[in-house]
């Protein structure tokens, strides 16, 4: 089984989206950059927080609130680890959805031709 055979959509016998394509998708990279960069800038210097950091601020903030309730001894900077993992998960999910949509759009175009 190759990487290209990894993602098979339900109800199909084709291999529409490969791992490599999802990971290098502009949607994946763009989402990751948008989630991490604005928040990291604000984390380094508060004056650089901007509205673009709001989604990550909410994600990181809620993560620390839950973590603090469960395990109050951890320093807050440690929450960067689950935060980055969450950002990767969200980015890959959006990248997969985008590539799948592109694949379907291409197929529809071919059928019309």
């Amino acid at each position: 089984m190759s990487d290209d055979d990894w993602l098979v959509l339900p109800g199909t016998d084709r291999t529409p989206v490969s791992i490599g394509r999802v990971v290098t998708s502009p949607a994946t990279i763009g989402t990751f950059v948008l989630l991490v960069v604005p928040f990291a800038l604000g984390w380094l210097k508060s004056a650089l927080f901007s509205p673009l950091a709001l989604p990550s601020y909410v994600l990181y903030g809620i993560g620390t609130a839950i973590g603090d309730a469960i395990a109050p001894r951890f320093d807050f900077w440690l929450y960067w680890i689950p935060f980055l993992a969450s950002c990767v998960g969200i980015s890959v999910t959006i990248g997969f959805g985008y590539e799948w949509w592109r694949e379907r759009a291409d197929d529809d175009s071919s059928e019309r031709l």
Partner: protein, 269 residues
Amino acid sequence: MRRRTILAAGSALAGTVAAGFVSQPSGDHRLLTAAREPGDAGETNTNTERLLPGTVHETRLHEIDAPRDGPTAMVFGGIHGDERNGIAVAREITEWHPDAGTLVVVPETDRVAVENDEREGVDGNLNRHFPADREPVSELARGIWDAVETRDPDVVLDLHRSLGIYDFHRQYVGQAVFHSPDAHGDALADALDDDSVPWYLPFHRFTARETDLSGPLLFQKAARELEASTYLFETTEFLLDQPTRNEMTRLAAARVLELHGLLETGGDA
């Protein structure tokens, strides 16, 4: 594709920096200018004295008399020695110019803790040394309380910082204004939200909470025994850097002085 991705990432970076600068709250320059510059009524007169002279706790108290009569306010920094925003801002306040009344400032209340950059000094946590119905329980606390009783302040403001956010992180009390029943806690929190908390940092909005006066904290004892309007201000280290914490603390101090009539901002300038 790679070039386009890099361009997009660069644009996002530039955009977020620009958006950050454009959408910052403006602060309140009028209020801070009124605090830093002498008013129309004339110059202030400052007197500095030493508390607990000749002891390990020796620290400075600055008393600033405004040209007009008015209430007496006391501001404390450094009750916890590692909460640098309160120390830095209290030092600044020693050079402020109230328009009315008397402003008394102790920037390094627990001087040993401040010098060691630690929360507690030689006798432990100073802000647990002012129990109800008893004398303060340490030499330092008694010295501080003597200075408070002597001035009999109308207003007391104690400056602190926490590691997390009150009502959000279970064990922390940051971004909160604890106050005595007759103080302007809600007005102070609302003003701080307007002046210093961007709308896109909603967890950092300030909370006002009336305090239980039976506790062993300095601001509780001052409210309980001297019937002063008292505040304990807490900002947070969570996602806020030192300059931002200092600015919030500075605005809190200036707003308290304005709310109690020591500072005049000249109306809607």
